[in-house]
């Protein structure tokens, strides 16, 4: 039963086996003279291109419409998705993506709108941005917002730029060059800080998985520009010393940047503004459920405290009576400048607002509470068979285990994850956060029914029992029932092949 059908009797000429279909790259099925789009050839065209007309072939393959449909439908069936099953990737927040969001984002009045058409002809779009801003500012208890950052990491740059602009205004930009970052932070935090010329200084978390006031005080000095703290943190825990930490950092002349990747645990329950936050990005695709699309686009608006508000980037919205105006140039003001062309991920704003309005303030709080409830339910149901790095304590919306429960079984964390694929699940996040050996971070979100959670628990318990019984092949040879078995990542990196070529 566990043996892969390698027997030639199971091989097929086409490579297809029932619904398990192979699909070659477009370059092997398309032709440069085939097109799936009918475009009329313009009559008597005398180009006005100077000497710059393209002469040689490009080599781009074309597919007729039926061929294209089949190609991409077949490819789609080689992907796992949240619509197909539980997707418990910790820190990634794979929750249900309502299709209403997609429908409204495609209304002609939104989708067919140019960012540079006269603002008088786009007042509805500006009103939508104003309404989204009102929700995000109220939910976070903050003073100002930048909608333009394109993703969470872009939001980090935005927040740090505002902090540096504020330091410049104070005349301290040259002396405050250190950003405190916990070891468990997302890798984007130190990367963003370094990109802007800050030096990351690591803060250690305590044995309880959170940062203590003392640990922060020890690293504070006149050279500190800011602290970047994720709360709830990447270990699934609430940084309970947050208020004291914020006070200490402020007293030392620094700012508090909060990585808001995990805001979905507390939206509607507690406000970052009350925690002492000066700047925080919100991952709209996570907390407000815009589809992740295989890895993007994201959207990372940043909210600011009163102290940082004057430095917010352009463009920003101004209400002038009945009219909304987008301020696109910051000349003479304190705005630190522009982060990207145009006004941000507007299509994502539409989706996020549809989600927000569907929930209402009451529903958003319920969603947060359900996400925390589900994670703790998994923790309680698995704590006798899996191990928690910081002891058995309440978690937020994700629960962190480590791999010590696999010790002596011959099964590695990666093998365990791959075996989950054969059970029909997307594995949890593994090997993150890096501070925990063999980390397994599970985030069920609020989208799962109790039945779904119970089945997931039963599956994990069965896998664990199997590992303990010594059935290692179930793990080391997994996955068997995926479109591909384990892929040779070392070979891919050693001799990179990044584009198709003939032969």
């Amino acid at each position: 039963m566990l043996d892969h059908p390698k027997d030639s009797a199971f091989e097929t000429f086409s490579g297809n086996r029932g619904l398990d279909q192979e699909e070659p790259p477009i370059f092997e099925i398309g032709r440069t003279d085939t097109s799936g789009v009918d475009i009329e050839e313009p009559a008597h065209l005398e180009p006005r291109l100077g000497a710059l007309e393209r002469k040689g072939p490009i080599g781009l393959p074309g597919l007729s419409e039926p061929e294209a449909m089949r190609h991409y439908v077949r490819l789609s069936r080689k992907n796992y998705s949240i619509d197909a099953g539980l997707y418990p990737l910790g820190s990634c927040t794979m929750k249900h993506n309502p299709r209403l969001n997609e429908k409204v984002a495609r209304l002609a009045g939104f989708a067919d709108l140019h960012p540079l058409q006269p603002q008088s002809t786009a007042q509805g779009a500006l009103a939508l941005m104003e309404e989204l801003s009102r929700w995000l500012l109220t939910l976070t208890g903050m003073s100002a917002i930048a909608l333009s950052p394109k993703a969470g990491a872009h939001g980090e740059l935005c927040g740090l730029m505002a902090i540096e602009a504020a330091l410049e205004a104070r005349g301290e930009a040259a002396t405050r060059k250190v950003v405190l970052i916990p070891q468990s932070a997302h890798g984007t935090n130190p990367a963003s800080a370094a990109l802007l010329g800050f030096q990351p200084r690591v803060i250690e978390a305590g044995a309880d998985g959170v940062v203590s006031e003392e640990a922060v005080v020890k690293t504070l000095g006149p050279d500190v520009a800011a602290i970047m703290l994720t709360n709830p943190n990447t270990c699934g825990l609430f940084e309970r010393n947050i208020v004291a930490i914020a006070r200490r950092v402020h007293e030392a002349g620094g700012y508090f940047y909060c990585d808001g990747a995990n805001f979905n645990a507390i939206a509607g329950v507690a406000r970052p503004g009350d925690l002492g936050v000066d700047a925080m990005h919100l991952n709209l695709h996570k907390t407000f459920s815009t589809p992740h699309g295989g890895g993007g686009p994201g959207s990372g608006p940043v909210v600011f405290s009163e102290r940082l508000a004057p430095f917010a980037p352009v463009p920003f919205l101004l209400r002038e009576g009945e009219t909304l105006r987008l301020v696109e140039h910051g000349d003479g003001a304190q705005s630190f400048g522009r982060l990207s062309a145009f006004h941000g991920q507007f299509g994502t704003f539409v989706r996020a607002l549809a989600y927000i309005l569907s929930h209402g303030a009451d529903g958003l709080a319920q969603a947060s509470r359900d996400a925390v409830l589900s994670a703790n339910y998994l923790r309680a149901a698995l704590r006798d068979v899996m191990t928690q790095p910081f002891g058995d304590r309440l978690c937020m919306h994700e629960v962190l285990f480590d791999d010590s429960f696999l010790e002596g079984t011959g099964v590695a964390t990666l093998d365990f994850a791959k075996a989950m694929i054969d059970e029909g699940y997307h594995p949890m996040t593994i090997y993150f956060p890096l501070v925990v050996h063999g980390a397994m971070l599970i985030e069920p979100t609020e989208s799962e029914s109790k039945r779904s959670l119970d089945l997931f628990v039963a599956t994990l318990r069965d896998l664990i029992a199997s590992a303990k019984r010594g059935e290692t092949r179930r793990f080391t040879e997994a996955p068997r029932y995926a479109p591909r078995r384990r892929l040779d990542e070392a070979a891919a990196a050693r001799k990179p092949v990044l584009r198709w070529s003939a032969g």
């Binding site: 003279d33 799936g36 475009i39 050839e41 291109l49 000497a51 710059l52 393209r54 080599g59 781009l60 190609h71 439908v73 490819l75 789609s76 796992y80 949240i82 997707y87 209403l100 984002a105 495609r106 002609a108 009045g109 540079l116 058409q117 002809t121 509805g124 779009a125 394109k150 969470g152 872009h154 890798g187 370094a194 010329g197 309970r240 208020v243 406000r271 589809p291 992740h292 699309g293 890895g295 994201g298 400048g337 299509g347 569907s358 303030a361 529903g363 969603a367 703790n376 309680a380 309440l394 109790k450 779904s452 995926a482 479109p483 078995r485 040779d488 092949v497 990044l498 584009r499 198709w500």
Partner: protein, 446 residues
């Protein structure tokens, strides 16, 4: 709440299993004074019908490109998107999947990104491309940072034909990263002398073609000047359809090519989400930002794809990473790739010719409008007009007649004193009637 499966009975059972009495107990780690003890001043949940009604009302307050003769470009372009593109990207397995962390069950995403990388490399005439960036402007900033890493110099020269938003983004990032920018004056007629601005301290020269005013630029002499001084040429485009008809930046000697890919498969959507394209030479692979997909084999020897060379990336290298970028514009890249596969080479070339023909027709019609002058000697689907008086006021007046006419240069460069310039784009979507309406509205408004 229709999106939340748990019932109150479930919630109670689950709390019992955990051993907590109520929700407040679940949040025991949050200091109690921080827990909201009152409802926020925000509305309560709405039904699907109510949300749809509310958002439709907002959408109706906008004048959409679909309902007016439309000639706006300057970095974002309106093209026809085949119905199958949007259908395919809405398939659950594409729309609702995540970053391909588990390649065995993400082959769909990985294979189309591999195909996308190849298409972008072919189009730009470069050896490799990454799996998309946030948008053209941020990709342009990443290209400058990449050139700084490669040359170990920190000074970028920006052509005066570069989209002013792109220049602004570069200014912002350079200011904070401590890099130097030399921005040449707005170059309406593409006559600037870039070569003489290059010396041995320059890391890269950033030139757009077609430029923001619609002029086509031969990059070859600029590339030669760059290479003489050990600098890199970063070529930028905002209209990818132009590559169907024009010499590729690679052919002209570019070292890094960046651009906006929105034109293929992606709606205007008031400015985003779009997708940045980035292509370069194979030798700069390890300095390339963003995601890269590579081909490999699985345990059974079958061809497959993985995200690769992640040792450059933030999740491994943290503060030593080549960039802080974590996400990409994956779904937009899929739309781009599907649209381009449907077009194929033959279709892309026809689409490009149709765009060029529309623009030529509009330019020729405008030649008969007194006081209006087209400034371009060569162009693709966009050009710049000098109009009598204030272009922004003209655009407003034409909008009142139901024609969306173009982008006044003063909107992009308010301090440049170029208030009588108007950037106009014409694509395959415009009909002869639309172009007639444009000319009539302009005559009426002047």
């Amino acid at each position: 709440m229709r999106y939340l499966p748990l019932t109150d009975v479930d919630r109670k059972d689950m709390r019992d299993a955990i051993g907590v009495a109520d929700f407040a107990a679940l949040y025991a780690d949050v200091p109690s004074e921080l827990l909201l003890d009152r409802p926020l001043d925000l509305p309560r949940a709405k039904s699907e019908m109510e949300v749809e009604r509310l958002l439709s009302a907002m959408a109706k307050r906008n004048l959409s490109a679909a309902s007016a003769p439309f000639f706006i470009g300057a970095g974002a372009y309106r093209h026809h998107i085949p119905a199958s593109v949007d259908h395919l990207i809405q398939r659950s397995e594409f729309l609702t999947s995540y970053t391909p962390y588990q390649p065995e069950i993400s082959q769909g995403t990985l294979q189309y990104l591999f195909e996308f990388q190849t298409q972008v490399a072919m189009l730009t005439g470069m050896e490799i491309a990454n799996a998309s960036m946030y948008d053209g402007s941020t990709a342009c900033a990443e290209a400058a940072l990449m050139a700084h890493r490669i040359t170990k110099r920190r000074k970028a020269i920006l052509s005066g034909g570069l989209h002013p938003h792109y220049a602004d983004v570069l200014r912002t990032i350079s200011h904070f990263a401590g890099d130097e920018i030399v921005a040449l004056a707005p170059d309406v007629r593409a006559r600037e002398d870039i070569a003489s601005a290059i010396d041995d301290s320059v890391s890269c020269v950033i030139v757009q073609t077609p430029d923001v005013f619609g002029n086509l630029r031969d990059l070859t002499p600029i590339a030669e000047a760059c290479h003489r001084h050990g600098a890199l040429l970063v070529a930028v485009f905002t209209e990818v359809v132009s590559l169907g008809l024009l010499k590729s930046p690679g052919e002209m000697g570019a070292d890094i090519v960046v651009g906006e890919g929105q034109s293929l498969g992606n709606p205007l959507s008031f400015g985003g989400p779009y997708l940045g394209l980035l292509a370069t030479r194979h030798s700069y692979l390890r300095q390339t930002p963003g995601r890269l997909i590579g081909e490999t084999v699985d345990a059974d020897g079958r061809r497959g794809y993985v995200a690769t060379l992640s040792a450059r990336e933030q999740h491994i290298r943290r503060d030593k990473a080549t960039s802080n970028i974590c996400t990409n514009s994956n779904l937009c890249a899929l739309a781009f790739s599907i649209h381009l596969s449907l077009l194929g080479e033959a279709g892309l070339r026809r689409l490009a010719r149709a765009n060029h023909a529309s623009a030529i027709d509009l330019v020729d019609r405008l030649a008969g409008v007194a006081g209006v002058e087209t400034l371009n000697e060569s162009f693709f689907n966009e050009f710049t007009l000098r109009v009598p008086g204030d272009a922004a006021r003209l655009v407003e007046a034409m909008a009142e007649q139901g024609v969306l006419a173009g982008v006044p240069v003063s909107r992009l460069l308010p301090q440049a004193g170029l208030d009588d310039l108007l950037i106009v784009a014409s694509t395959e979507v415009d009909t002869v009637e639309d172009r007639e309406a444009f000319v009539a509205a302009m005559r009426g408004a002047l």
